[in-house]
Amino acid sequence: MLYSKKVMEQFQKTEDYGRIENADGIGKVGNARCGDVMWIYLKIDNGIITDAKYETFGCVAAIATSSMAMKMIKGRRVEEALEVSNKAVTEALDGLPPEKMHCSVLAEEGIKAAIEDYLNKRST
């Protein structure tokens, strides 16, 4: 098998999938052409991410990184969540096969996009 135990675990047991109604920030990244699409929903209260969910069309790595990333930002302050790098997500999963590294980038981008959306909404 290509993947670490942690990746498979996260992939199989993922919980934070689905939608958040009236989310405070939504990030949509990736495209079907490349085989991975990730949508991130955030509920943010007082600058703190109180809930985070994802919807992902993609491979094991895409789903596992989405799932792990949700775990890593829930309960964190927005600024802290912005610091969650693809490297951190990958490490938390005990690594990814080289050809799958782009999936972890997607998770980072997804979070950033969702937070940006949140900040945009707030400023308008």
Partner: protein, 388 residues
């Protein structure tokens, strides 16, 4: 965790135990170099000849028209480069759904200065003979179109395509790697000039390809050396594998009809059950003629590798697309050629049955495939959208 449910016969077949049994003496006892002088060597050579006869018969060819090489890929290359390299330029034609062994050979020739036409297929994976007719040119030297597709199983009108090629003075090659052992393949009635086979797709060993070359036709070898295989593919013969392939051919002639019927029934039944249990799927290559053992579906809105991974946790071994592209990031070029969207192409699943498939393999798949699809759809942004 052991995968006990193998549904990936198009990727490779287990070597039939009867084949292994025939091979074993040729490793440590009858190990002699068949080109040597002493009688054991000559006797090994006779075994190779017998295997050649058996394999030739299976393909409707003469034994002296059959050549052994390293694998199916090399056989494809030998026919394609071997024809085209006899001239410094020229035109060749292939189809959009060929195996990489054919497509990449043709593309390399294009880079090297030859002209290439890649014919499209229709939504069911068939080449239109009229398209071939229109593509033929005065300088077309070779048409290479596969007998049956490895991903979706569509069977081409080979005899008709070969006729068109010949009418225009070109030679015709067909990659029958996936066809042989699953459906009748006959070089005479189809009138092909070159045919490529691979032993490991028909219950023989890996690392043995076969090339049929019609009598009187010349190919430039890919490799030069001693005089083995009449100089077309030199190097000490892979004796054990050749004897094994001969036995594999014998088993195919004996069992194919019965196997095929069983497998076709089960495959059709499986398709019905999947269509009943899982909404919103696409059958890729849903029209006859198609390989009786192959079923390719796109479970819309979810991705292939994730499906494979979840099924694997239940001991199910399948492929998404072809084996050699499972690890690559590109969607199947075959499904894209059918006109599938990238999303659907990414979500394909190939189920391929074979000689040792049991009903319970299929039942086991049906126990787990619907829930797998459902779970992944719960995660997918596209599925949810569809509902809302």
């Amino acid at each position: 965790m052991k995968t006990q449910y193998y549904l990936d016969y198009n990727a490779t077949t287990p070597v039939d135990p009867r084949v292994v049994e025939r091979m074993i003496p040729f490793f440590s006892e009858r190990f002699h170099n068949p080109s040597s002088f002493y009688h054991q060597a000559g006797e090994v050579m006779e075994e190779l000849d017998a295997a050649r006869v058996e394999l030739a018969r299976l393909a409707g060819a003469n034994a002296d028209e059959l050549f052994f090489c390293g694998n199916g890929t090399e056989s494809d290359n030998l026919a394609i480069f071997g024809t085209m390299l006899q001239d410094k330029k020229g035109h060749l034609i292939t189809s959009a759904i060929e195996h990489a062994a054919v497509l990449n050979s043709c593309r390399q020739l294009q880079k090297d200065g030859y002209d290439l036409t890649i014919l499209p297929v229709d939504g069911h994976g068939f080449v239109d003979p009229d398209d071939l007719r229109k593509a033929m040119r005065k300088d077309t030297r070779l048409v290479s179109i596969m007998w049956a597709n490895n991903e979706i199983g569509s069977i081409q009108p080979v005899a008709e395509l070969a006729r068109i090629a010949h009418e225009h003075g070109a030679l015709f090659h067909s990659d029958a790697v996936q066809a042989m052992g699953k459906i009748p393949v006959d070089v005479q009635s189809a009138d092909v000039d070159f045919l490529s086979l691979s032993a490991h797709k028909m219950y023989g060993p890996k690392g043995l390809g076969l090339l049929f070359k019609r009598r009187g036709l010349h190919l430039r070898p890919l490799v030069f050396g001693g005089g083995h295989e009449k100089g077309l593919r030199p190097g000490t013969e892979n004796t054990a594998a050749i004897v094994g392939a001969g036995e594999a051919a014998r088993l195919v002639s004996t069992h194919m009809r019965e196997e095929t019927e069983r497998v076709r029934l089960w495959r059709d039944d499986l398709q019905t059950r999947i269509e009943e249990k899982i909404p919103d799927i696409l059958i890729n290559g849903d029209r006859e003629p198609r390989l009786p053992n192959t079923l390719n579906i796109s479970i819309r809105h979810i991705e292939g590798e994730s499906i494979l991974a979840l099924l694997e946790t239940h001991g199910l071994a399948l492929s998404s697309g072809s084996a050699c592209s499972s690890k690559s990031l590109d969607p199947s070029h075959v499904l894209l050629a059918l006109g599938r969207s990238h999303e659907d192409a990414h979500g394909s699943l190939r189920i391929s049955l074979g000689r040792f498939t049991r009903r319970e393999d299929l039942d086991h798949l049906m126990t787990h495939l619907p829930s797998t699809a459902e779970r992944l759809r719960m995660i997918s942004p596209f599925w949810q959208n569809r509902e809302s």
